[in-house]
Amino acid sequence: MTEIQAGPGAAVAAAPVSGDVPAIELDHVVKEYVSHGEVVRAVKGVSLAIAEGEFFSLLGPSGCGKTTSMRMIAGFEDPTQGVVRLHGEDVTSVPPNKRDINMVFQSYALFPHMNVWDNVAFGLKRKKVPDAEIKRRVGEILEVVDLVGREKRRPKEMSGGQQQRVALARALVNRPRALLLDEPLGALDLKLRQAMQIELKRIQREVGITFVYVTHDQSEALTMSDRIAVMNDGLVEQLAEPREIYERPASKFVAGFIGTSNLLSGTVQQITGDTAVLALGASDRILVPADGALAAGASVDLTVRPEKIKIAKDQPEGDLSVVRGTVSEVVYLGTYNSYVVRLGDGAEITVFEQNANDSTITAERGDAVWLSWQPWHSYALR
């Protein structure tokens, strides 16, 4: 069913462009900290390969090891085990100032005693780039991030969004082969955040370099990334394209972490053709695409996305998954309505209904309703 079996410990996925040397590679990397005499395993064995020019996101809840993984790529932490490769070259013991990648820090880490120009020119000056070229390149990059005319300002005289762009320019001006961004938009408000997401994506297309993006915001990761590694507790749970991660989550954790999803479970009653039938009650049934792995009597965990489910007062017809329940909550959310429906066995299912026609709400609180969805929208979890 899924090509990428990214179970704990075995999260290996090739770069999408096969044959090319990956820009960044983590090879069975483990990081342990010792704090107060206790060993903390922040990263428990991560392997991943990021292709040249890719927008790659590390996504996961707080404390799952995203920052630690990124800091090992940048060279600020030495892996306890494993190898870090940049463009095929083992850099595990190369210091950060000798790695051809740059990082944008969550706190921006702009030098407060230097103005915007000196901040941005810092990296080029270290590389002894001729003055005339520094002048040209800093000018160019300030144009890209739309900060022309603000060269003489100190960081604290600028807004959060402007500081963020200075930080970005300071890294990009060096033309690194990869850019690492640790929750670069975390400190911005929602509006500015969305504007900067678009901006970042534009800049990435423009300069065409590899971006590694750390975030715990799943919608940010879904909208911006070419591929996403979903991390949990020091391991990669799934590494795939956004659509794949959303539609075919590899584990309960991924299904729960990405978007809203309904987790159901049942026992396979029979297999008809390429469909497994899970019985829940008298007229309730859930259809799941059956691959070889499913057999009668097997218990199955599955997810259904709320927007795939149809809600109706009457019993739907056809080869659908069908369950009955009682509406326990209705929320009007502008572009859609959200229903929470309680099933006979106590499980709750969330349903989103588009407000396409100016129809009134299908069901009220307390109404008995039928929920139905196509067999292929049931996604069995392993």
Binding site: A109, L110, F111, P112, H113, F122, R154, N174
Partner: protein, 263 residues
């Protein structure tokens, strides 16, 4: 503080009393530098004159003592400034074997009674047969002021965002360049404050200096010796000038800080 004990007029009067209390001795010192005194004792007002400013360096011993004091204070400022800053940097940044003990020693040195420190330094020098004089004064001044510098710098270092240094490393700066271009400018206000504190502590130290001076005279020692026979007005003038220099530095510092805050 509505209904508080000190409010309105009461608070105003109290404030002025405190200021007067602090300023009066200095005012008297400055005033008697302009006293047209003729006898040995510069205690009664005998008319206004500038002549002591003209005869400032006429007492050879006193001038020598002042030169010694200034020289020792400047050297103390530089040596304790550099060494203390390095200690402060290490203590503020790293946890290393012995850093706890180091912190303890720093605070012990700060809180130790001067008389105890002076006496123990003297017995140390005598035991090691180090001849007392200019160098023993310098060593002891560096010794007692170094902890003040370290503590001041450490406080500054602890507020420093370590990602700034990482950013510099990330942008291609080696460890030394990072220190020169990022760390030092960031902690410099602490280094400056600590060094100035070392200067101030050194120039007016009496107790420890008195133990370890041998035959060398410093400004405070000379004044102490002279009080028995009467202080010449030159002492007032020198005191006035030192005070004025201090005020100037403080004002310049405040202006600079404001400029930096507005910049």
């Amino acid at each position: 503080m509505k209904g508080g004990l000190l409010r309105g007029r009461g608070l105003q009067i109290y404030t002025w009393l405190v200021i007067a209390w602090l300023v009066l001795p200095i005012a008297v010192m400055i005033l008697f530098g302009f006293n047209d005194t003729h006898g040995r004792y510069n205690t009664a007002w005998q008319g206004f004159t500038f002549k002591w400013y003209g005869k400032l360096f006429e007492i050879g011993d006193l001038t020598q003592a002042l030169v010694n004091s200034l020289l020792i204070a400047v050297l103390t400022m530089l040596i304790a400034g550099v060494l203390g800053s390095l200690i402060g940097l290490a203590l503020g940044r790293y946890r290393f074997r012995g850093s706890g003990a180091m912190n303890l020693v720093m605070f012990a040195a700060i809180s130790c009674a001067e008389i105890v420190m002076g006496a123990s330094l003297l017995s140390l020098f005598v035991t090691l047969a180090v001849p007392l004089g200019f160098w023993t004064i310098l060593i002891s001044h560096v010794m007692f002021s170094i902890s003040f510098v370290a503590v001041t710098v450490r406080a500054r270092v602890m507020t420093l965002d370590s990602s700034l240094e990482e950013a510099a490393r990330d942008l291609g700066a080696g460890p030394w360049t990072t220190f020169r271009l990022v760390t030092l400018p960031m902690i410099f206000p602490g280094v400056l404050a600590g060094s100035m504190l070392a200067f101030a502590l050194s120039i007016d130290d009496f107790v420890i200096t008195n133990f370890n001076s041998g035959g060398t005279m410093t400004f405070p020692l000379w004044i102490w010796g002279a009080t028995r026979v009467g202080l010449p007005p030159q002492v007032n003038v020198m005191g006035t000038l030192i005070f004025a220099a201090g005020v100037l530095i403080a004002v310049a510092n405040a202006l600079l800080a404001r400029r930096r805050a507005n910049a």
